[in-house]
Amino acid sequence: MNFELTSDQKMLAQTVRQFTKSKSPVERFRKLREAGVPWERDVWAHMGELGWLSVPFPEDVGGFGAGFVEVAIIAEGLGKTLVPEPFIASVVLGGMALLGAGNAAQHEQWLSPMIDGTTSLALGYAERGSRYDVSAVATTASRDGGGWKISGEKIFIPNGHEAENIVVSARTPDGVGLFLVAADGPGVTRDKIKTIDGQGAGRLRLDGASIGDDRRLGDPGDGSIAILEHVLDYGAAAACAEGLGVCQATLDMTVAHLKERKQFDVPIGSFQVLQHRAVDMFVEVELMRSMSILASLAVHDDDPVARKRAISAAKVTLSTGGRAVTRESLQLHGGIGITDEHDSGLYFKRMLVLDTLFGDEVHHVERFASLPSFAEG
């Protein structure tokens, strides 16, 4: 048992800290949000140069071949200053789906350019009414000559409004299949959904969209569902890390406020009732950190029951802890926390997105309790 980061991992964390401090503090996200710019291509390319977009992928597709701990380090660091580039959406969701379902030629054609920061990916699985069930797929794909015709709608796709290519699930006569849809392809309409955190998401409307068979990722069937489930677990693990960054920054900001803000001639942080509430936030952050570590180690577990148990437990901890921390932060900041000009509201809203994506608290409590490990334990 060992929870120490290796020297390479420590260096990575340090590089991410330097990047967020010098290139992407919270003010940058604020400016982009006001300008209506989701994120910037040159910054994405820079992330590619730094090798961040390669970490979870094997070396033969241009990856770094690292584990998920490195992904978590980056996601946590980016979460601290609300960096808007689509790290989780493109690397963890689109990238891992393409890695898991695609073949070598597909990896070379579509994964490698994402890894070097030239393009970005996304994953569209959610539909109206599907909630978090990846097998609830109403979108259809049918054979059309040598290719496929896909019809349906995918909503709230992280980075779906910007990605060149989007992995989409669609029901075929042989079960659910995965397809890589080009955003500018025939029969494809995509637009931007405004989201509470200001980052936006994509909506994809497919009206008999023509897709070549070279864009079919693997064979339709149960295997595709298993891949989607695993990819969403990767997403959940990454969300736990980003949420940890969000909450650590929120805690730090709140504690600083308690020390600076004076009322009744003393710093409000000297009031015991507020001290105890700050300590409650601290406790939640430490538990989230513990479970984020578990999630990043267990997400590769070969045993799907052990993996799902750990990921669901971590995601529930993210939801309960993250809500408590970001909501308490607003209360402890007082009126200023309710203004858009103060950062605490930005973190509060980003946390809500991470809480919801990849399954909310009730979804993961139910999944946790449905596993054989629950009845046996």
């Binding site: 048992m1 060992n2 929870f3 120490e4 980061l5 701990v69 504690v255 308690l258 020390k259 003393v266 710093p267 942080g269 000297s270 009031f271 015991q272 001290q275 105890h276 700050a278 300590v279 409650d280 601290f282 406790v283 430490e286 538990l287 950190r289 513990s290 479970m291 570590i293 578990l294 990043s296 180690l297 267990a298 669901s312 437990a313 529930v316 901890t317 009730v362 409590v365 139910e366 946790f368 309790a369 629950f374 009845a375 334990g377």
Partner: protein, 394 residues
């Protein structure tokens, strides 16, 4: 990073399980199975069995008679003993005064007291709190006046758990009333058989006589019984609080209680199904299991740090806080799961299922967990000051 225990540690875990299976006497196992309270003689019987095995003081160094275990082995041993529901050993000698004597005692004091703590021939209790000195411990008034080579002790200590069975008590006493309150306190050992010592048991809400009021009426104690320096008792007391924080998380005990809740829920019919399959009930159980998992992970982080010789990080301070809360909430949930059976109080076998017998007394008694060892509110004050760096409250 690596989450797994080493093969050696896993082997040790199995060794502990095998040992408990063969060494725990039948009558104690029968009590453990229903979580019945263990009277002091049961506790000391189990103490001596563990002593014979060399495992009674896993946190003691080898030279003091401990097994020289790693932090991980200590954690595993404690977790497995708690999981099996074996009698919890009295912590006052093994975890509290023993390590204090090792750190601050003279060689003579160490030779006199440590072997007897280890082999269980002498049992201990703690004389800290007083009727007017609880969370504000340093305001204690039980006084010690010099008289030649002795101190004369007068005053009252309270919540002196199991003082009625104890051979010795370690006390914080006022030796200098003229200085800042923390500076005039001395840590002293008192033989409970000394004339003038009177321990009067009180019944707790758990129905067991765990607490005592202990009175001192002109009790003569040799100065040689002072641990550390006269008027430096606060230092000894603070050091003593720092020992073995991971154990306060009660992970093993809570896992055992969770298991029992699931067992009861699976045996309880609701409609044509069981409580364990009922979505709201199983959601409640699952949420607590997840909280316990997070606590366990936090404990393992502290443990892994200790293995590397690191001082406990911020995560260690949350263990007592959250561990005691989760433990209480598990018993609360167990009571809810039991329905009417929760109302049964020390009835003969057969009134309620055996698995439910011990729940209600533990539900009551574990309310103490968030109070003793520095109440959870005091723990929060400490975290606010020392970790978050918040200004002192007025």
């Amino acid at each position: 990073m690596d989450l797994s225990f080493s093969p050696e540690d896993e082997t040790f875990r199995q060794e502990v399980r095998d040992f408990i299976a063969t060494a725990l006497p039948e009558d104690l196992k029968a009590k453990a199975d229903i979580d019945a309270p263990f009277p002091m003689e049961d506790t000391m019987r189990w103490h001596k069995i563990l002593y014979a095995k060399g495992w009674v003081a896993p946190q003691w160094p080898k030279k003091a008679g401990g097994p020289g275990f790693s932090a991980t082995k200590r954690f595993i041993l404690t977790e497995e003993l708690e999981l099996a529901g074996t009698p919890p050993l009295s912590p006052f000698g093994l975890v509290m005064v023993g390590p204090a004597i090792m750190q601050f005692g003279t060689p003579e004091q160490q030779q006199r007291f440590l072997p007897q703590i280890l082999n269980g021939e002498e049992t201990w209790c703690q004389g800290y709190s007083e009727p007017e000195a609880g969370s504000d411990l340093a305001s204690l008034r039980c006084k010690a006046d010099e008289d030649g080579d002795d101190f004369i002790i007068n005053g009252q200590k309270t919540w002196t758990t199991y003082a009625q069975y104890a051979d010795w008590i370690f006390c914080l006493v006022r030796t200098d009333p003229s200085v800042k309150k923390q500076a005039g306190i001395t840590f002293i050992l008192i033989d409970m058989k000394t004339p003038g010592v009177d321990a009067r048991p009180m019944l707790t809400i758990g129905g067991t006589p765990a607490f005592c009021d202990t009175f001192f009426d002109n009790v003569r104690v040799p100065k040689a019984n002072v641990i550390g320096k006269v008027n430096a008792g606060w230092t000894v007391a603070k050091a003593l609080l720092g020992h073995e924080r991971t154990l306060l998380a009660l992970v093993g005990n809570s896992r055992r209680t969770l298991r029992r809740i699931k067992h009861i829920a699976a045996e309880t019919a609701v409609g044509d199904s069981t409580l364990l399959e009922h979505s709201e009930w199983r959601g409640k159980i699952a949420r607590l299991e997840i909280e316990l998992e997070a606590l366990k992970m936090a404990s393992l982080r502290v443990l892994a740090g200790a293995e590397l010789g690191q001082a406990p990080g911020p995560e260690s301070s949350i263990l007592k806080l959250r561990g005691t809360e989760i433990n209480q909430r598990l018993y609360e949930l167990a009571m809810e799961v039991m329905g009417h059976d929760a109302l049964s109080w020390y009835n003969d076998a057969g009134v309620v299922p055996d698995a439910e017998q011990g729940i209600a007394p533990n539900f009551c008694y574990t309310r103490a967990n968030t109070i003793f060892g520095g109440s959870n509110e005091i723990q929060k004050n400490i975290i606010a000051k020392w970790i978050l760096g918040l200004p002192a409250s007025k």
